[in-house]
Assembly symmetry: C2
Homo-oligomer: 180 residues x 2
């Protein structure tokens, strides 16, 4: 039994509101009687969509403001309020790259980091794509897209412009799905 | 050229100090002249270590305070100030599981999320392990460890207690390394 590892939240307060997440302080008591305070981030869910087109992945390149670098990634973004994650995946793919997906498959959902985040990160595989050739971006969303062979992406993840850990999460779920 | 995607930080301020990260607001100007404000988190680097022992991975089970769930993961933690990431990987493995690694290999380093985090996440493979049978945990670190067959972990990631996205990142780097 692992019950002795569990904690209860006794009280909490919001330390910070921001446009992308809230920071919450939680006072907790462990099953073994230890008291502690922990910070957690509350945010809308996020999606990434692995879009496969003629042996290549559709990737987006954009400036990432925290790491201060260009990053080449699978398309993705925030699930809007009231939207389901699969719809968000289709929408982000279409907005960022103009690719319309006929077939979409849920590969998995995990926590971005269960120590720090309360939201979920959802991964989808988009297939049977039609390129509309038209991006629809937010005003401050400067983003280009490109195709790169699947094998090249899988062997290059973690190097060069492939800097986003959650792209690795998506790759792990993709490879697991392909092995089935 | 992707220069038109880049942004410069014009000014910044710390919105929040916490024990595990600081939240910073950055005022930025894009290469195309757009002005914007973005929040970023500054934190020490993190490590995870994939420890392979007789065909199994050494895993840790612990309560994750933000997601409010038990999580089964590769051992890992925060790189201490002045410590290098490889030393932190060895130390976390030893503290959390009692396994001493003779051989350690750097599998890769990425951003936990370059949109939000300034720190790096480092992944190591630990081999030639000796079990000392002795954990050394912090007072509030309630954590058990166990061995699980490699194939079972790779096929189960993302389900049940395998809730941590960064474990998937580590798996993607591990599978890439094994294919070389």
């Amino acid at each position: 039994m692992s019950n002795h590892l569990e904690w209860d939240i006794i009280d909490k307060q919001t330390l910070l509101h921001s446009p992308v997440f809230d920071v919450i302080e939680q006072w907790e008591r462990s099953a073994t009687g230890i008291m502690g305070s922990y910070v957690a981030m509350d945010a809308p869910d996020w999606v990434q969509v692995i879009a496969e087109y003629k042996g290549s992945f559709v990737l987006v390149r954009q400036w990432r403001h925290a790491a201060e670098c260009l990053s080449l990634e699978f398309p993705g973004g925030v699930v809007d309020r009231g939207e389901d994650a699969m719809t968000a995946a289709r929408r982000e793919l279409l907005e960022e790259t103009g690719f319309q997906a006929e077939k979409i498959t849920h590969l998995g959902s995990v926590s971005p980091n269960p120590a720090l985040f309360k939201n979920q990160f959802h991964v989808y595989l988009a297939e049977e794509l039609t390129p509309t050739g038209e991006q629809r971006l937010d005003d401050d969303e400067l983003l280009t897209y490109e195709l790169k062979p699947v094998d090249e992406v899988l062997s290059s993840f973690g190097r060069g412009e492939f800097t986003h850990a959650l792209m690795g999460t998506a790759i792990a779920l993709y490879e697991q799905y392909k092995r089935k």
